[in-house]
Symmetry: C2
Subunit: 236 residues, 2 copies
Amino acid sequence: MTDNTFLQFIETYSVTRDHRKKSLRQLLGASFREYPANSVINHQRESGDDVIYVINSGWGKLYRDLHGGDRQTIDTPVRGDIVWQRPETANTTFSAITDLYAIEIQTPSLEQAMEQDSKLSRLFIRAIARQNAISAEHLVNAGRRNAMTRISHFLLELEERLSVHGLNTDGGYECPLTQHELADILGLTKIHVNRTLSALRTNGLATFKSGFVEILDRKRLVSLTDFDKAYLRQRG
Amino acid sequence: MTDNTFLQFIETYSVTRDHRKKSLRQLLGASFREYPANSVINHQRESGDDVIYVINSGWGKLYRDLHGGDRQTIDTPVRGDIVWQRPETANTTFSAITDLYAIEIQTPSLEQAMEQDSKLSRLFIRAIARQNAISAEHLVNAGRRNAMTRISHFLLELEERLSVHGLNTDGGYECPLTQHELADILGLTKIHVNRTLSALRTNGLATFKSGFVEILDRKRLVSLTDFDKAYLRQRG
DNA sequence: CGAGCATTTGACACGTTTCAATCTCTGTGG
DNA sequence: CCACAGAGATTGAAACGTGTCAAATGCTCG
């Protein structure tokens, strides 16, 4: 098994790296935890421990609620993604969309482990740099693309992110997001998302329905959105 | 002198940390460089070395050019900010707005140095986590706030970021951004930015003119934008 | 079978963009 | 020292994309 991403590395940590055979839990102070769908993991107002979540399976969402009921979702972490909200700094909420299985690492423990393992350190830094690139891409989306292009780009991004872990099928992937959640990610109204999805369908570009996304015409979607998956790369 | 931020730490690195008195350049493979105003430091299409920039003085901008001439600026780094575009991953351009003085560190050198100095490692990780929080905030801005609130929030953010280094005056700060650049940051049109700035002026909230921003009514601006500077915190 | 949530559709309002023109400033060369 | 050039700022009018409000439909689960 390769260990070129942060998730892969910590999953095999005790076996391949630590000759003393300590468990992941012991080395990193990590715990494996499951959160039920729709549960709040870390609220934007109640700062808890300084912990890092590494998503193992399921979908989460990281968002900010604003006065007036609006919500902006920063990202929807899936397998391999990390979520780190420093308690003094965080003003976002992290919650589970589906049942979510995550590795939870106390930040001080991770910092200790990184002192002794430079590869762990490198991979963690790259992982958060990648999350940064994803946020930046979402900013480009919200700032400078219209509804059609925005949705298309995000659907392609999701496909790429899921396919890294084989979580896609031939021409699509499972996606538990509601149209409302999609709207909160893209900075649109759920009504307008609905209309735009219908346009995507009509034009034979993509389909978004009952938990499943079908990419019908990838070539056209890619050129429409100028999609370049480079920003999602992890290894190297 | 404190050394609680990445910049402060590496500036005093050779003095306080390395008993062998090696210079910063030797330890980190770092070089101090000055870029003239309006010069491109790192283009989104030409991937150069894997380097990290730490801004010492001046203003930069990190942006993405899209087909059709639109541009989305991710951030305008100032003193203390770091810019890291991994060559395999980057699709943003980094350029200097004013004359820009930066410390340039080869990523492999930094990684080596971090292996030997856990504080360096911790501070770097926090620095990029902070950049991440800034991107997220800009995403909230572009996705869910109207022009008036967007501009106001960003002006408050800039004040806070500059004041960390004493780069503000009593009720304002120097700001070299043009209205067009402001538009690219906020995902607006320069024309609409102009109109909105004029509204801000009329309402006695803030002033944006010839290189200087004046915060006229901070209280009202803060409540209007629900500004909470926590995400800009660095130390801890 | 009914309740509640997600999706869909329609008509209209509004914020922002687009296009076009004018104005102001600042630095430069005659 | 003035004239000019070019970039930035300002203003107006109209077009357009997205939001808002309201209502109906479809789906899922107890």
